[in-house]
């Protein structure tokens, strides 16, 4: 199966990711340097949580915006390897397309949670180590 060079999100979820980033990053101009999250950080976390929970993400409803270069997103191919080893990717789907689906589903869930609670349920994401 041929792996794509670029993956991304549907336009709607890409917008949701932008919104989420602006919420999670400090919104005031600070004189001192602050740590800022980038899109990759959220994207990778969405994929990791999807894998941890063994999700079966559906196909993307719209065409992906292919915003991210796979080589940059998964520099040491950690995500690829885990998907490969877990053998959770459907046969007719390339691994990175599967990763794209996981990200799309995960970011959507992040966004909905944030809309409902005003914060991400971090304890739920990280405390369950099973």
């Amino acid at each position: 199966m041929n792996e794509p060079d670029r993956i991304g999100l549907t336009p709607l979820v890409a917008e949701q990711l932008d919104e989420l980033l602006s919420e999670l990053n400090p919104n005031i101009e600070s004189t001192k340097e602050t740590v800022k999250l980038i899109k990759f950080d959220i994207y990778r976390l969405a994929v990791s949580l999807g894998l941890k929970e063994r999700k079966s993400p559906p196909e993307l409803k719209e065409k992906s915006n292919s915003a991210f270069r796979v080589g940059e997103l998964d520099r040491d191919k950690a995500l690829f390897t885990v998907v490969e080893c877990l053998e959770c990717c459907p046969n007719d789907t390339s691994i990175y397309r599967y990763i794209e689906r996981l990200a799309e589903q995960g970011i959507q869930e992040f966004y909905q949670e944030y809309q409902q609670r005003g914060e991400l349920p971090l304890t739920e994401y990280f405390s369950d180590k099973s």
């Binding site: 999670l24 600070s30 999250l37 990791s48 941890k52 080893c85 990280f126 405390s127 180590k129």
Partner: protein
Amino acid sequence: MKLKELVIHNFMPYKGEQTIEFPQHETQNVMLLFGDNMRGKTSFLNSIRWGFYGVALGRHLRLIPRVNLVNSIAAAEGDWSMSIKLLFNHEGREYELRRIVDKKNHVAVPKIDSDFEETIGLKIDGQVIAGDQISNEINQVSPEEISRFFLFDGELLQEYENLLVEQNEQGEKIKEHIEQALGVPALINGRDEFTSLLKDARRTQTRDAKNSSDAKMYAEQQRVNETKQLTLEKDIKDLETQQRDVQKQIDDIEDELKNTEAVQRKKNEIDVLIGKRDTIEDQLAYDADEQRSLFQNAWKDVLFQSVQPLMSTLKSKRDSLLQAAQAKVVLDAKISDLQKSLDSPFCPTCTQPIPKEEMDGITLRIKELKAESELSIVNMDDVTSLNSQIDKLSKITSSNEGQRICELAAKQRRMQVSIIKIETELDEIEQEIQGFDTDLITRQREKKDRLSNQLFKLNSDIKDSKEQLKKLLETQAHISTLISKSSGSKGQASTIRVNLYEGLESLFKQSIDDLRDALRKDVANYASEAFAELTTEKTYSGLEINSNYGLSIIDQTGNVLKERSAGAEQIVALSLIDGLNKTARKTGPIVMDTPLGRLDPKHRSNVLKYLPKMADQVVLLVHEGEIDPTRDLSNFAARIGARYQIKRISATESRIERSN
């Protein structure tokens, strides 16, 4: 004089009629009136003062206008009448003093003192005293000048510390009051009278000297000095007017600041809370930063959790493959050994041929082993692939980012709760001080500082001008002597008068000094006696009085104690009051408002034991912070003749009730 009964009607917070009976017993001579702050203790003191003298004093001894004396609820109901009835006895005679004010008939709502009409009545042993005699009769019993020392506001004790500071304006004022009470003004007035007469006599002498050839030059000098004197006197008068004006402005600001003390305290609380909130907010921002930093690698931590079981599976698979490969090697070695037996069917030890049955067994065994070996064939590419996967997955590491993020989230929640609590508190405080301009308070403080500097400069200018005037007067006296000695002026009426007035003025000056010295000595003796009983530090040898009636503590080495605590100041001030009171009059009651404010328990105990001895009758107006009814009263329970409590009805109404 002994107070018997006080009947208050519509006076300040005391609406309607309220009667208080004073203790008459010789040893049970203390009356206690308990009341929280703002309930009417000082108003009670003022009711007695107003009953006797028709004046009620506020802070800085300012007169309280009548309109503020009438109970505001009664006034709002249209009743502007107010009265005080005092029953007392003095030297075996019974007195009934009644002072009443009411608004004048034609005035709808009174605004100033003259909108009220005051009537006063006095009966002695049932005999009505004529109106013009009443004031005189009261002064016979209890002169108004001394009232400061027996109708005493404890909050003013601090003012007595100013007596120790030379050239202090407030100290000078208090000294004036003290001397007025002690009777010094009689001599001061006499001296001033002769100073004035001497001035006139010298003017006449100078005029006469103009016609004398040998005194003409002195007359001219005297004329110039007189002009200088007038200018200096005018300057001093102007400076003193300015001084009073500036002092009044400072007093007004102090009053204003005193009223806003609670607001200032609240403002400080706000500043502290804002500081706390800012610190927490800084910590929150710092933690949020750390949390985001952890968040960047949190995906690896999550992935690490998924990878762990997978790694175990892969490693186990790889180990199985390697075990199988190892087993195949062993089987192949066995097959090879057996095959050698088939290829050479002789025993290697005895070289005898191996029997056929045994050879058949070996063949069968080789078959079995080959079958087993075939099952153990391992594709080493699979092992390589598993190793590669294991290597890649091993690179996924975790630093427990998720757990740390959770810990930070919990910490954040706690801090956010703290911020909410602080903000609720801030809202409550801001609501409490709503309407107060806290910036104005700061500006007023700055203004007060500026005025204090101005006052200091004025005081210094007045001092310089007075010094110049003193020197000028000495020069004038000297020139006057020269004129008197000149041949043309000797024996003249104006010279005789100058000499006479000089002598009399000098006599009065000396008398004032003598009287002051004698009085100061008395005050110092009485005060030292009181101090010895009041102080807890028994090594102090006594008190020393200065020219202003200020008292210093003398330690065991005979030196003046430099630093005094607030409690010591209060003890010294109480001793001074006792000394002044005993010097000024022989008998009479003492009414003290909040006299124990700054004292520690031991001093308080000493003062409570001593107070009953200060006068025939002692009325203490105290709050429960000063005298704890359960603890402190045991010290002088036997001396309490009556106990009252001021009960709050509303913010503008209180009632005095007798308690047990």
